[in-house]
């Protein structure tokens, strides 16, 4: 009975826990045996809770037997990306500079899940400081794609995506700044959602680019995505960028009804670099949408062609500021040979940060420096306004916009790591969304000839996750993707 529990979605396990068909210990046990088998091969975790996870699950079972309420994520094992603070449990951001850093508080999203008595599987691996699209930039080693371990899982939330795809977590929390939830979800064949900017508190998320970052769910299906979003969203007084508005129960929008939905397909996102199989899978999904009563129309958002450049100025600029706190003074790695303070800063940072992080700090610093600020940073902010305006106009006509999530399926490890710019192009479809603060989801759209997952991106207007869930739930049912990489 306990076999395959690790591939059940949370909503199914929740029913089974309520009816006492399974215990939290059963679920944790099922995950644990898979974790032992695959962690060495996939490296999805920087830190595993192991016995502590089983202990926690037993405690939750005891809580339930004493009459404790079984909420949506009570007793459910969840992986947390290692840039989200967990009190008393190391939070490394996959960097040497935070290798032994132990947070003194829980991120708000962790607090919310703890209040539901979730079970922590461990801290998931990622690209260092969330900078990357392949999870090859981790100080703790690359993460492998469970569908083909010679390939990348995507990034920066590679660990969270792989933990769910490989059945070593029921769901996970990741972060998305330019596509870091959606792109790995696409490459690993699972569902990944970036909520509207401000919907989920960033308190306790180690900041990369403060105007772009959002925490979001990675799950087996759309229903779990809506349920996990319910659990983690909401105004937080500790995050001055969080939205102070009541939010709906997102599971209300899982209606399987696309009648009269107006769908726009921006031609700038149907990029020419796209694999032909991916283009076919998008066309196929659009046909299914049409069959279900949606109206599809090609559209154009001209400024999207500049989104990649805007992002690779603004995100590094914000990062260069956010990462200036890592100087060896109050926490993190410190160089011990420097005799003076500033030498200590320079050496600690040079020795503690990986190459991609340093590249982005350098780009960001350059773009903000005197003489270059106007031409780069301020100019990028103006083009950002145009991008936001293009989306605003599009959403006057359409309920959602659809595109591929990633122009390719999972590429080979080592294939793009030598050329940063080629790597950056992996995010060409996802980046515009963060610049405009919009919500977007990636759902599996099929498998390629090489047995690699492909993903479909559905973008909504600000705070219009309702439309996203409506379209995603319906298309998920229509596409019927129910495969897992079982050959591990």
């Amino acid at each position: 009975m306990t076999e395959n529990l690790n591939f059940f979605p949370a909503h199914k396990l929740n029913k089974m826990l309520k009816s006492k068909e399974v215990s939290s210990a059963d679920i944790a046990g099922s995950l644990n045996s898979v974790i032992q088998k695959v962690q060495g091969k996939l490296n999805a975790y920087i830190r595993l809770e192991k016995e502590k996870m089983l202990e926690q699950a037993k405690q939750v079972d005891s809580y339930i037997s004493r009459g404790g309420e079984v909420k949506d994520f009570t007793g459910i094992p969840i992986a947390i990306k290692d840039n989200i603070c967990t009190k008393g449990i190391t939070t490394t951001c996959a960097s040497k500079i935070l290798e032994n850093f132990t947070p003194i508080y829980d991120a708000t999203v962790v607090k919310k899940l703890k209040a539901q008595h979730f079970v922590l599987t461990g801290k998931a691996n990622m690209d260092e400081f969330a900078m990357g699209s392949s999870n090859e930039n981790s100080y703790f080693g690359s993460v492998k794609n469970p569908w083909d371990t010679t390939r990348v899982p995507g990034g920066s939330s590679g660990g969270p995506a792989v933990s769910v795809a490989s059945g070593t977590a029921i769901c996970s929390l990741g972060s998305d700044t330019g596509g870091s939830i959606r792109q790995p979800a696409s490459l690993c064949g699972i569902v990944g959602l970036k909520p509207t900017y401000g919907l989920v508190s960033r308190y306790g998320l180690v900041a990369f680019a403060s105007s772009l970052d959002q925490i979001g769910p990675l799950t087996r299906d759309v229903e779990d995505s809506a349920t996990l979003l319910n659990a983690i969203c909401g105004w937080d007084e500790n995050d001055s960028t969080s939205i102070n508005q009541a939010h709906p129960d997102y599971t209300r929008f899982l209606t399987d009804d696309m009648k009269n939905m107006k769908i726009g397909v921006p031609r700038e996102l149907m990029v020419k670099e796209m694999d032909s199989e991916i283009k076919d899978s998008v066309d196929q999904a659009l046909k299914l949408a049409r069959d279900r009563g949606a109206e599809i129309e090609e559209t154009s958002l001209p400024s999207l062609g500049y989104a990649l450049s805007v992002y690779y100025i603004i995100a590094p600029a914000e990062a260069s500021s956010n990462l200036s706190r890592f100087d060896g003074v109050r926490y993190g790695y410190r160089n011990r040979t420097a005799e003076t303070l500033r030498k200590m800063y320079k050496k600690s940072r040079a020795e503690g940060f990986g190459p991609e992080v340093k590249r982005r700090i350098m780009i960001g610093t350059y773009c903000l420096s005197a003489g270059y600020y106007d031409a780069y940073y301020e100019k990028a902010q103006r083009v950002r306004t145009l991008i936001i305006e293009d989306f605003r106009k599009a959403f006057e006509k359409y309920d959602v916009l659809i595109s591929p999530t990633s122009p390719t399926t999972a590429f080979k490890i080592g294939e793009k790591i030598e050329d940063p710019l080629t790597m950056y192009l992996s995010d060409i479809c996802t980046i515009p969304v963060n610049l405009a603060g919009l919500p977007a989801i990636s759902i599996p759209s099929g498998l390629s000839k090489d047995n690699l997952p492909m993903g479909l991106q559905i973008i909504g207007n600000i705070l219009r996750e309702d439309n996203i869930f409506r379209a995603a739930y319906s298309l998920e049912k229509a596409i019927g993707f129910d495969k897992y990489p079982m050959h591990l």
């Binding site: 805007v310 200036s324 109050r330 926490y331 410190r334 303070l341 030498k343 940072r349 902010q381 306004t385």
Partner: protein, 95 residues
């Protein structure tokens, strides 16, 4: 025609408080040059009378009441300190 020279890189490294060896400067300069060369394409966009966006939400000046609350304990604040002395963070001498 390169955008960024090795001298520029050394200058930016100083601003960013990063140490690079000469070999690292050799390696990183063309990488940064390629990236900056690509992103410079935004200069082609007409942004006359378009104001910059720093933030996508229409909120500003989010404050709480100026009342004293429980703050961080010294123990917590020093928990991850590489070196401490007399309840403070110990650092090398200022240069």
């Amino acid at each position: 025609m390169s955008i960024i020279s090795k001298e520029d890189v050394k200058h930016v490294a100083k601003l960013a408080e990063l140490d690079f060896s000469d070999g690292e400067v050799e390696k990183i300069t063309p990488q940064l040059d390629k990236i900056l060369g690509h992103v410079a394409n935004i200069s082609k966009v007409d942004t006359t009378s378009i104001s910059p966006t720093s933030h996508t939400l229409e909120i500003k000046n989010v404050f709480r009441e100026d009342t004293v609350r429980q703050s961080l304990s010294k123990e917590d604040a020093l928990l991850n300190a590489p070196e401490e002395i007399d309840g403070g963070f110990k650092v090398p001498k200022i240069d």
